[in-house]
Symmetry: C2
Subunit: 194 residues, 2 copies
DNA sequence: TTTTAAAGTTGATGTAGGTTAAGAATTAAT
DNA sequence: ATTAATTCTTAACCTACATCAACTTTAAAA
């Protein structure tokens, strides 16, 4: 059942009866993404939130030199979208790409708003989700302001132990906020000191 | 009327009738804060969101060296709280302080949750508020990863033109993410080049 | 009004992390 | 299985910003 994971995810925060679950899942579309498929391109309007059930996506922006900066990884059980663009329905600056063969559930902005009126409890669910996302994001900002690259890497390893082996090092480096070269040196050093 | 500002703020996103407005404002407490008053201390549990109607507050954390890092300023018409602590009701890491004589409206976590059931529309209001906050925060993270201190300062000046003159330079420096010394040099240079 | 403390500035020097470049190791394509 | 492309690593050098210290200015206290 492709909806098991998302329903279990929701049930952590709100209770839905069978009819409500059905209403909810009726608004979802399943989509398979091949590796390197671009799900959302910078400059486009983000029309869907994606809930990952298999594989892994990443979201990133370009800076003025054209360098990519990874903003988030989305392994199974995570949502990903360009929140700015999704909310404003203006062209965004984030590109979202499948890193491997992935499966996602799509919830369109329109469907989401319909669901808010049909099942008001979902407003609570998404509020809580957004709150958690905000807190995580604030913590990351704090970490970027107060910690060294090495400390941020350690936090990353602890928080996403499963991702470390599957992700390309350059993507981890970018998420941490350093160049691949420095990341490589950093790791070589920390291996030596163990 | 101390509630005018907050009611106007709310009315941007949802409509409340007179009875609902009354119910809402009944859950608020007014508080005056003298300059340098600490409204929330790192290590404490955050029990209130504060909506500023006069003056200005700032939120900051300490790093392991004891250096302060300003996370946000809250001029009138802004909310401020330690979201992590407020949501989890665990001791937080943020200190919130009045920079000048300020007046705030307090909404306790408990009152907020009561309001969600009494006036479900407020769930929407706070969802939207949190979404906006998340987007702003993500943008700030992107700016920190992709821009120089000078570029971040320019953005700050454009975004908060009124604050530039009232805030202490060391607080702006901290918000931007540089030392007061470097901030000073940066400004000296940019004045020279004008 | 004078004193004291805090904030801001300027200079000399240090460092985390960036850049450029070239080779080694993987991975993908033929 | 080879070739081609991408990713990763290592090294030399570079820059944005930090640190420390002394001085000046501003603001707060007495």
């Amino acid at each position: 059942m492709p909806f098991d994971l998302i329903l279990k995810n929701i049930s952590k925060y709100i209770g839905l009866d069978e009819a409500e679950k059905k209403t909810f899942t009726n608004h979802l579309t399943t989509k398979t993404l091949n590796p390197k498929t671009i799900f959302l391109k910078s400059g486009e309007v983000c029309k869907y939130s994606a809930f990952v059930i298999k594989g892994c996506l990443r979201g990133y922006t370009y800076d003025k030199n054209g360098t990519e900066h990874v903003l988030d990884f989305a392994p199974p059980d995570w949502w990903i979208a360009d929140m700015y663009s999704l909310i404003t329905q203006k062209p965004g600056f984030i590109t979202i790409e499948a890193l491997e063969e992935s499966e996602v559930l799509l919830l369109s902005k329109k469907a989401q708003e319909e669901l808010y009126s049909q099942i008001p409890k979902l407003e609570r669910f998404f509020r809580i989700l957004t709150e958690k996302s905000l807190v995580a994001n604030q913590q990351r900002l704090i970490d970027n302001m107060t910690l060294t690259a090495e400390e941020r890497y350690n936090i990353f390893c602890n928080r996403y132990p499963t991702l470390i082996n599957t992700l390309a090092k350059k993507h981890i480096a970018s998420y941490i906020g350093v160049t691949p070269e420095f990341f490589s040196r950093m790791r070589a050093k920390s291996i030596r000191n163990n």
